[in-house]
Symmetry: C2
Subunit: 237 residues, 2 copies
């Protein structure tokens, strides 16, 4: 069996030693080539010429692997003009739209971002940038902190929503389902849906996106933090 060992050394002289970075790099490569749904322990093990069990030495589980891939991608988020000043609100729209665009290509990563709060350097850079924009825009400290949370939750969800829908569904079929449901909505049972039916599906994705962000930004600089009044509700059952 010695000969066979030597042969395989010769044939794959580039077989890299197993390292965490090597695994993450392979994961990114597989993702770009075949999509994140193929970034599985087994697929990666095959790629790295080993068995799935070996990866568990370096990566706790699949979720951790996906988180590592995500932060890599976030390096691409809007390196465009920082747009301070009067345009700060539009700058926020741009940064978030860029972030959403990246996740949009890989909805499973959006899901991962929603479920496991990212904490990699590129994610922190994104948070930092948004905080700066908001504070420049004149929000309070808590407003900026909680507001960034809301904005990123929104952007991530939009990516998950539309990204998944694009790849999973016949794209028709599903939009049809809701549109149809709206049209069929008995005006007696759902008078408001019946009346606003058109508005419910109007606008381009970016129009809606921008409007939603402006809505949040307006509120963020307007609504006082809790303690200043609003709060105190019953808990969930």
């Amino acid at each position: 069996v010695q000969v066979s060992n030597q042969r395989s050394r010769r044939e794959r002289p580039s077989k890299p030693a197993l390292t965490r970075d090597g695994i993450v790099a392979a994961a990114v490569a597989v993702m770009k080539a075949e999509g994140l749904e193929r970034v599985t322990m087994r697929r990666l093990a095959a790629e790295l010429d080993t068995g799935p069990a070996s990866l568990y030495v370096y990566v706790r589980n699949t979720a951790e692997l996906h988180a590592a891939v995500l932060d890599q991608l976030l390096g691409l988020v809007g390196l465009s003009p920082s747009g301070e000043g009067a345009q700060w609100a539009n700058a926020v729209v741009d940064v978030l739209w860029s972030y959403t665009g990246i996740l949009f290509e890989h909805p499973a990563l959006a899901r991962s971002a929603l479920v496991t709060r990212p904490s990699g350097p590129n994610y922190l850079a994104l948070v930092e940038r948004l905080l700066r924009l908001l504070r420049n825009g004149g929000t309070s400290d808590t407003g900026a902190a909680w507001g960034v949370d809301l904005l990123l939750l929104f952007a991530t969800s939009i990516a998950l929503e539309h990204g998944t829908r694009r790849q999973v569904v016949n794209a028709d079929e599903d939009r049809e389902a809701l549109t149809l449901a709206i049209e069929l909505a008995a005006p007696s049972t759902y008078p408001n849906i019946a009346e606003l039916g058109d508005a419910l599906v109007s606008g381009t994705p970016h129009e809606r996106f921008a409007w939603h962000v402006h809505v949040m930004l307006s509120g963020i600089s307007t609504i006082p933090e809790p303690g200043s009044g609003a709060g105190s509700h019953r808990g969930v059952q």
Copy 2:
């Protein structure tokens, strides 16, 4: 083999004929007993004493099955006082909090709601109710329509985010990861994160939830619809 057939008839006289409703009912039962992650075609087939292939006569795929389960659950959304009038904003908070609470128990359903827009009667009833509240609150028609979209996206995402985190993670470990990342954030690299660190993790879940909803409601009745100015951005690459 006739005898054996009769015997099995005797032993399970209650074996129900396969119907779509029967399958959905079994799905709800399994979900309540074992969680949605066990509501699989194979598990359900076993429950209904048949093979997985048989279910495909009535249900297109697993996603459709989960959507059906979801609408069943949505029947439970806040049948509490409708709270019109001056309290309309708080009424919205309550309805959404109730909706979130239900999905919170079954984060996989929240994911399903995000990915496949629900269109069942109970979901429509929820939309209808929110539209009514918003219009009573004085929003424009488009504002109400697009606003409900934003509010439900938010509520669904919050459920997915926190619900999944609760069951997947050691609950510590993950929150720690972010908190730690914030604490370790070099003030020189992330000055705003360093300065606002406390605010980033302050507040109870409900405080944050309520503040976020008030933020959105404020913006929804403030920001004019597109066409009235704001719009027109570059597209995503």
